[in-house]
Point group: C2
Chain length 156, copies 2
Amino acid sequence: MVPDRFDLRIMKALQKNGALTNGELSELINLSASQCSRRRAALEAAGLIEGYHARLNAKELGFSIRAIIRVNLRMHGQESDKEFSRWVERQEEVQSAFSVSGDADYVLDVRMRDLDSFSQFIHERLLIQPQVAQVRSDFVLKILKDNQALALSTDG
Amino acid sequence: MVPDRFDLRIMKALQKNGALTNGELSELINLSASQCSRRRAALEAAGLIEGYHARLNAKELGFSIRAIIRVNLRMHGQESDKEFSRWVERQEEVQSAFSVSGDADYVLDVRMRDLDSFSQFIHERLLIQPQVAQVRSDFVLKILKDNQALALSTDG
DNA sequence: GGTATCGATGCATCTTTCATGCACGCATGG
DNA sequence: CCATGCGTGCATGAAAGATGCATCGATACC
């Protein structure tokens, strides 16, 4: 599927606000509501829109700790990498996890309720993984932005 | 507002799928649809649910580069920090940006269409910021998980 | 130039979903 | 024991979503 500029506008709008009605969308992008509905369905069917998600207020819910953790493994091989990946995927506190090229092997974005949980996670769960060689943590002091929105150029 | 376990279940479900109807929600959490509607509205009004967002397929849309960039500033002061923050917020390619404690001063999560854009961003936009002293990039090779979902414990 | 064909669009309609008034049940406190 | 208040489910009117149909515009072909 090749999205045209209307599709791009729709996706851009829905990134910002996924609860827009087709009527509201139609005003924003200058197209009838029925067309918005059809295009939206097409974008979802084509997989360009992967889904809709509610964003929760982490602070209000008691998640006061956020940290970016860089992890190095002892050795590299399909086995240890795969095993570590599987382990990471099971950790609820890990919101995002990337295998990266650079100083580190993995970068994790984690959220916890308090320092105790964080310490417990690092020492009693992460560091005892046999593959893990080194762990360096950066605590998030302030979130400047957290869009999760792609920079689509609508060209007008 | 103090969310009870039904509220937690609702939030958990809506994190996974923000397009659930109240009827579908009611089946998932064993509560009538009308109550789901009321509780949902309350959670939104209380700010526990901050909003709904569509997630787009980055690969399909041509964003093949993702990187975690660590930035160090030359000196620290309210001025340079604030100025850098403001600059970061204006950069569309920056999805998330954190001020952190640790080796780095800032961590940025960026997405680009290609290596040229990335190089251009680093050299012609980021490094020419007068506050910036050092930049280290980790390219994302593989996304193990990218939930953006908080680990709510529903206790049942 | 004329015409046929195909996809995209807007309107109208039907269906689904949402929002809310109401009465009931349950708990707590007088 | 009764009164009060909150949370709940049911039922109804309002809003939003989905879709058949006729029309419009563009392209291709004769």
